[in-house]
Amino acid sequence: MTTPLTLHTDRHADSRPLLTAHGEIDMTNVESFRAALTAAVAEGGPVVVDLTGVVYLDSGAINALFAHAEDLHLICSPLLLPALRICGLTELATIETPGTGA
């Protein structure tokens, strides 16, 4: 059984590619997340990844983010922030948590 995850690719208001994820990301579905992320980055330029709807993401998912970290603008729940900071992703990617801005 695959963990529930919905991925949506769009354009952000400022025309950057926007990838919106909902649900949980673990080893059962990380490959689709990675594929979506790669596709979004392929469109060129910085990609906005909206993870506000993601309640769980494991280190596999963080690895996927690392692959393109410099090109990512992440929007996520503050609850996920400690994990991203521990892995060092905050050093490379732009991370925005709702309410606190970029």
Binding site: Y56, S59, G60, P82, I86
Partner: protein, 1408 residues
């Protein structure tokens, strides 16, 4: 300076020789080389430009035969002459010429530079005397000494510009002085060296001072077996391979050759390193290369040894060196020989002294050896003469011959003995003031009849002298009697005159005869010992030649002189001069009290002998001679004096080693009616006396084992025999012997030979006196012996000196062995019974130190059995001596002791068994008690069960004083125990000393009691009896304990069976503790019941009453409550139903119950209480409350009264405690107090998991002595732990996460904690799944999470390995990040990989 130079690098061959010729002409050879120097390159330039002063200096230098060099100019340019080149410069020539002096003598510039500077600066000369230099002028570095004088050199203007050094070699002087010093020291002090060893040590210490010429030396002395032993060394350590202790004649490498030295030849030995290795270097840096072996010569014989002298490698072995070593060897040889000869003399002197001592001893011994047989001849002969007075003449004549010769022999022996005494300096004189006229007249009168019978006139002219003369009377007697008998012997006509007078403050005695006289040639040897003066005629040819010699010695002892004048055929006159007073005599030998003894018996032999010289008809009838008549009748007179000698029979003990003498004395004494026992020596006498104290002891002085003096001393030292009279018989005449005898404590002293009459008279006198004295002490002895208690007297140091018969009966030791010194033989053996020994020792200390006291002591009877004796003692003063003695009594209390011991042991064992509540504790208690009773070293109890096939070979219970397991016991002990287990009941087995085993009845088998007393302490009959008794009681006691134990075990088993659920739901912990002693089984219980809709019923109750009845009621109530809860899930209704049930069940009334239904998911709790104590709730942050709602009365009392219930929600991480009153109720304490204590215990321990918390609460609340009532306790923490087991498959991850998120929500955690926990646990699960997937398809993963008030802990266990294959680098990076995440998010993470899987534990702390 020994270093070589690089010859002539600077020499310029092309230098102008012509200009130099004049300057260097003084020495052709050196001059040539100087001319060859490239002077232009030196600071002083070409010789042609040299100032006159330099030229002059060089010229002087070269022309001098003294060794010298010079330095010139600022650069101190070097010049030297031929002598210097030869003696000093060596190979540096000619390189050195023209060089700076500092370069030429670079190696010593530090030393000479400053001196030269000083010369240059001050212009004054200086020098170095006797400087040691090693010169290689002869092909080896040579030790040389030089004196250097440094003088300034001035230029034409008088300024100092250079320096001249004149060198004088002083090697011969320095080395010579050094060697002389050694030789002088060697000869310095041989007087202290008496022995060979002392001499060698002295020599070595002197040689050691010269390690320059003698780096090391070894002195070997030849043995008898042609080998040599090392006698002394210098400069070489003992044990060095070159310092072999023994050398044999066989030559071997690394050993010194002995053959040549033994033949008197010196040998030079090369000390090559290959053979000899490292050798001591002496005063030098390098080891010697040669050693000279020189023989230690002695005149006219082979050498006594040889000396190895290691040679200095820095000096040639020239004549001087060799001569020095020869002289050293000569000194050593002389020393050894003189020491040896000194010792030989010493030995000879000692041998002579020993010979002299032996001679003296021989003479002394002769006295004894001769005197005893003499006594046995003359004594019986004396008696025979009396008895055979009427026998036929021929018999009497023969008897007279025997008698006279006996006397004569005695006199000779005495004379010899006197000489030996005088020689040994042991002649003890006793000078007393005497009236010399009276004494002389009396002695003369003894000879009067014999002289008159010979037809001679006898004139005695002895007027009383104005002063007293100090004489030793016995000696004086000998002097007089010898002179008189001598006069009679050689006088045939005329007279013998004794005349006394005064002359120059001396008493002068002359004995003059008109006899044959003495030839003038014989006069000088008249007083010579063993010299018999040849005379023309004498009355007898007999004579030993010692008479006059003895007279001279005796007179000399008096400080007097004796002279003789004689004219052949006219007569002889002896004149004795004695000083008046005693100033000339040794003060210690002078006494002022004169003895009253009359002329002693020693006169008789002289007279008897003299009479024999007279014509036969004159002596035909000895009975007619006055002197003889007196003597012969002496026995008669003695008998008359003793009233026939048969009126006072006494018990007399005779001690003499001579059997004849024993028989003779026995016959004599029996003859007058005494009871006689005779023994052969002093020791035997002592033993006999201790058995039966005699009224008199007659003892010889000289005896084997214990002599007469020793016997007297021993008798006097012993209180029981101190008053026994002793008559000593001695062969030793002379006062010093009798004084010794009296000093020792003898009552009388008789010298052999003695007459029978004299002996009997003395015996009678002694016995009469002693009887008077003894009456009192016999009474005392009789009194003491009649005592019913043992009686003893100790002296101040505790030795037992007197005992009575009861004492002997109690301990078996009689008076024969008295005194008994400490430790007495009745003390326990410290080896066998150290405990008893110590006890007796302590009592003894008190005996000696305290004034009085009492003690019960374990003593050992003579036959070995133990005796318990009660001692009482007190200290008293001995009126006789004023010393303290200890008087005591003792009583045998063995029977009392064992009775008391038995009663005490039985009571103590009974008490201990009563206190035991299990068989094993009873057995352990018995071990302790048995050990105490016997003070045993070890006690082992082993219970061997009876099995279907007989008795087991291994016990099912072992208890011992040293806490052992059966298999830890020594194999032989196990064997013994097994053997004893086969023995009949209660029969002690004592196969080994100090060890005893016995069997006792034991439930289901047999109990072996094994006791090791320690040491070889014997196991007595009393011990065996007591052991049987105790074993019997132990068996009975164990049986009783076993019955009680079984009952209790049954009740507890039952209660456990009906108590609670076998498996508790998660989150619960329970405790049930049956009450301890006295045995009670309460009616407490707890219960959890799974109910529909995932809810749980929880019950805690307490029935009234004790024991099995209460337990039965409880079991039924519990079952009923379960059923009711399952039916209603409603606590109030359940309790109402239980009310009705309880009403029907006898004993169920008044039961209190708390009943609740819990929803574990929400923590909601609905509850009702039937009079039960309110549960306690402790929140995570520590707030404590109790559940006071839903209260009702206990069960079965009012069936119509409705039950109510209440509800509440248990907050997350709060802890709920349900309990029964046993936990909190204490006698005489308020219940509230107990509840508060319980609340407090839960509060304090709340951060523990519930299982640990339960233990904590039980322990904390345990009263001293344990819980008195049953305790049931139930703990619950909300939420219970999460336990999930899932297949190691990725698809399981999301549901597990879901379950974990739910559980964490119930833990009431902050969202961030929930998220972090999920992520960290998620990473652990991913790893577990990956491993499980890879390593063990179908493996499972276990997730366990528990919530504590202040933290949440999670454990993930998988069955795989976290070790990643190297190929999967990506995966590793992934996992690395996962682990980093776990560690970053959790407070602690531990990962423990094992063979079978990996366990990850992590926790996060929660603020409360």
């Amino acid at each position: 300076m020994s270093s070589g130079a690089e010859g002539g690098a600077h020499v310029n061959e092309a230098a102008g020789v012509a200009s130099a010729t004049s300057v260097f002409a003084a020495d052709e050879e050196i001059g040539q080389d100087l001319a060859a120097v490239d002077w232009a390159a030196t600071p002083i330039g070409e010789p042609s430009e040299w100032p006159q002063s330099l030229r002059t200096a060089v010229s002087i230098l070269l022309s001098s035969r003294f060794s010298m060099w010079m330095a010139w100019g600022d650069g101190l340019t070097f010049f030297c002459n031929a002598a210097y080149r030869r003696d000093t410069l060596g190979q540096k020539y000619p390189w050195a010429l023209g060089r700076p002096a500092s370069e030429v003598w670079e190696e010593i510039w530090e030393d000479i530079g400053p001196r030269i500077d000083r010369v240059l600066a001050t212009g004054t000369a200086t020098w170095d005397q006797g400087l040691l230099l090693f010169l290689e002028r002869s092909g080896y570095p040579e030790e040389t000494y030089h004196t250097f004088s440094y003088s300034p050199l001035r230029d034409d203007l008088g300024a100092v510009v250079g320096m001249l050094c004149v060198v004088t070699e002083e090697t011969d002087r320095v080395v010579g002085e050094r060697r002389m010093a050694t030789l002088r020291d060697l000869g310095s002090n041989p007087s202290v060296a008496r022995t060979e060893q002392e001499m060698l040590e002295f020599t070595a210490s002197q040689l050691d001072h010269n390690r320059w010429d003698l780096p090391f030396t070894l002195t070997y002395l030849f043995d008898d077996d042609s080998g040599a032993r090392l006698a002394a060394t210098t400069g070489i350590a003992a044990g060095h391979p070159a310092a072999q202790l023994h050398l044999t004649a066989a030559q071997s490498p690394g050993a010194w050759p002995t053959t040549a030295p033994s033949e008197g030849e010196s040998v030079l030995v090369d000390l090559d390193a290959a053979t000899w290795g490292a050798l001591p270097t002496g005063a030098w840096q390098q080891q010697p290369t040669q050693a000279l072996l020189v023989p230690l010569q002695q005149q006219g014989a082979a050498p006594v040894g040889f000396m190895v002298a290691a040679l200095s490698r820095y000096r040639p072995l020239d004549e001087g060196y060799r001569g020095f070593i020869d002289l050293v060897a000569g000194h050593v040889a002389t020393g050894i020989l003189s020491a040896r000869s000194y010792q030989a003399q010493q030995r000879r002197a000692e041998e002579l002294a020993a010979l002299d001592r032996a001679k003296t001893t021989f003479f002394s011994n002769i006295s004894h050896e001769f005197r005893t047989p003499l006594t046995l001849i003359t004594g019986p002969v004396q008696e025979l003469r009396t008895r055979l007075a009427d026998a036929e003449p021929s018999v009497r004549e023969e008897l007279e011959v025997i008698h006279r010769n006996g006397l004569r022999l005695g006199r000779l022996v005495n004379s010899l003995l006197d000489f030996s005494r005088i020689e040994a300096g042991r002649m003890t004189a006793r000078y007393e003031p005497v009236d010399l006229a009276a004494v002389t007249t009396e002695l003369a009168s003894v000879f009067r009849s014999a002289i008159q019978r010979a037809g001679l006139a006898f004139e005695v002219d002895c007027p009383t002298l104005p002063e007293l003369v100090y004489l030793d009377r016995s000696m004086w007697e000998k002097v007089m009697l010898n002179l008189l008998s001598n006069a009679l012997k050689f006088t045939f006509d005329g007279s013998i005159t004794v005349r006394l007078g005064v002359e120059d403050n001396h008493a002068v005695l002359t004995v003059t005869d008109t006899g044959v006289g003495i030839a003038e040639t014989e006069m000088p040897r008249l007083f010579e010992r063993f010299h018999r003066v040849e005379r023309s005629r004498s009355r007898s040819r007999e004579g030993s030649g010692i008479g006059l010699a003895l007279v001279k010695e005796l007179v000399g002892l008096h400080g007097g002189t004796i002279t003789a004048t004689s004219t052949e055929k006219q007569g002889t006159s002896f004149t004795i001069r004695l000083r008046f007073g005693h100033a000339h005599l040794p003060a210690q030998a002078v006494v002022e009290d004169p003895t009253t003894t009359a002329t002693s018996a020693s006169a008789e032999p002289f007279v008897q002998e003299a009479l024999r010289w007279l014509p036969a008809d004159a002596t035909a009838d000895p009975a007619q001679t006055g002197a003889n008549e007196d003597d012969l009748s002496s026995l008669e007179r003695a008998r008359a004096a003793t009233g026939g000698g048969r009126d006072l029979p006494a018990y007399v003990l005779i001690a003499d080693d001579n059997a004849d003498m024993r028989e003779y004395l026995t016959r004599l004494l029996r003859g007058v009616g005494h009871q006689v026992q005779a023994v052969a020596d002093g020791q035997a006498a002592l033993e006999a006396i201790r058995v039966h104290v005699p009224e008199l002891v007659v003892s010889d002085v000289m005896m084997p084992r214990l002599d007469g003096l020793g016997l007297v001393a021993a008798l006097r030292a012993d209180g029981r025999t101190a008053t026994v009279p002793v008559l000593l018989l001695s062969a030793r005449a002379g006062q010093e012997s009798s004084i010794q005898g009296f000093d020792a404590g003898a009552d009388d002293y008789l010298v052999k030979p003695f007459s029978a009459a004299e002996l009997l008279a003395r015996v009678r006198a002694i016995i009469e006196l002693a009887r008077l004295r003894a009456r009192h002490s016999r009474w005392r002895t009789a009194l003491i012996d009649s005592l019913q208690e043992g009686f003893f007297v100790c002296d101040a140091d505790g030795s037992v000196v007197e005992i009575n018969t009861t004492f002997t009966e109690i301990l078996g030791y009689g008076p024969e062995e008295l005194p008994y010194r400490t430790p007495s033989p009745w003390w326990p053996d410290p080896e066998i019974d150290p405990h008893a020994y110590e006890r007796v020792g302590q009592a003894f200390t008190r005996l000696v130190e305290d004034d009085s006291g009492e003690a019960d002591l374990p003593l050992v009877h003579h036959d070995g059995h133990q005796v318990w004796a009660r001692f009482t003692f007190s200290r008293v003063e001995d009126p006789a001596t004023g010393n303290h003695v200890i008087v005591g009594t003792l009583r045998d209390v063995t029977a009392e002791h064992y009775t008391l011991q038995r009663d005490t042991a039985l009571a103590a064992l009974a008490e201990r068994l009563a206190a035991a509540d299990t068989v094993s504790s009873a057995v352990q208690a018995a071990v302790t008690e048995l050990r105490r009773t016997w003070s045993a070293q070890r006690v082992v109890l082993a219970a061997f069960p009876e099995t279907a096939t007989g008795r087991a070979s291994e016990p099912d219970l072992v208890a011992g004083s040293d806490h052992v397991q059966w298999h830890q016991l020594a194999p032989d002990l196990r064997e013994r125990l097994l053997a004893v287990s086969q023995a009949p009941l209660l029969v002690p087995q004592t196969d080994q000393p100090g060890r005893v085993g016995v069997t006792a009845a034991y439930p289901g088998g047999v109990l072996v009691v094994w006791i090791e007393l320690g040491g070889r302490r014997p196991v007595g009959a009393e011990d065996r009896a007591l052991l049987s008794l105790l074993a019997d009681r132990l068996g009975q006691g164990l049986h009783r304990v076993r019955e009680i134990d079984q009952q209790r075990e049954a009740a507890v088993a039952l209660q456990h069976a009906i108590l609670g659920p076998a498996h508790l739901p998660a989150g619960f912990a329970v405790r049930y503790q049956p009450a301890m002693r006295p045995l009670q089984v309460g009616g407490d219980w707890y219960d959890t019941v799974p109910l529909p809709h995932d809810r749980l019923g929880i019950v805690v109750g307490d029935c009234v009453g004790h024991g099995l009845d209460a337990a039965t009621v409880m079991g039924q109530l519990r079952s009923a409550c379960r059923a009711l809860l399952l039916e209603h899930s409603h606590p109030a209704r359940a309790l109402a139903g239980l009310d009705r049930f309880a009403a029907l069940l006898p004993g169920a009334e008044c039961t209190t119950v708390f009943c609740a239904v819990l929803d574990p998911a929400s923590g909601e709790l609905v509850y009702s209480s039937a009079g039960h104590l309110p549960p306690i709730l402790v929140l995570a942050e520590g707030t404590t409350t109790s559940l006071d709602g839903g209260r009702g009365i206990p069960l079965g009392l009012r069936l119509d009264r409705p039950r109510v219930q209440d509800s509440m929600t248990i907050p997350a991480r709060a802890t709920l405690l349900l309990y029964t009153d046993g936990l909190v109720e204490r006698r005489r304490r308020a219940l509230d107090e107990g509840i508060a204590r319980a609340s407090c215990a839960v509060h304090d321990g709340r951060t523990h998991p519930v299982e640990e918390l339960a233990s904590h609460v039980m322990t904390t609340l345990t009263p001293t002595g344990g819980y008195e009532d049953d305790v049931a306790l139930l703990l619950y923490r909300q939420p219970g732990p999460l336990d999930v087991t899932f297949n190691a498959a990725p698809s399981e991850l999301a549901p597990v996460r879901h379950a974990l998120r739910n559980w964490l929500t119930r833990c009431d955690l902050d969202a961030q904690y929930v998220n972090d926990m999920l992520l960290a646990v998620g990473e652990a699960c991913v790893n577990a799944v990956e491993h499980g997937h890879r390593g063990h398809p179908g493996g499972v993963v276990q997730l366990h999470a528990i919530a504590l008030p202040d933290q949440v802990c999670v454990r993930v266990v998988d069955s795989g390995s976290w070790k990643a294959p190297d190929a999967e680098a990506t995966a590793r990076a992934h996992r690395g990040r996962g682990i980093a995440l776990m560690r970053g998010l959790m407070h602690q993470v531990t990962i423990a990989p094992t063979e079978s899987g990996t366990t990850v534990e992590m926790y996060v702390r929660i603020p409360t």
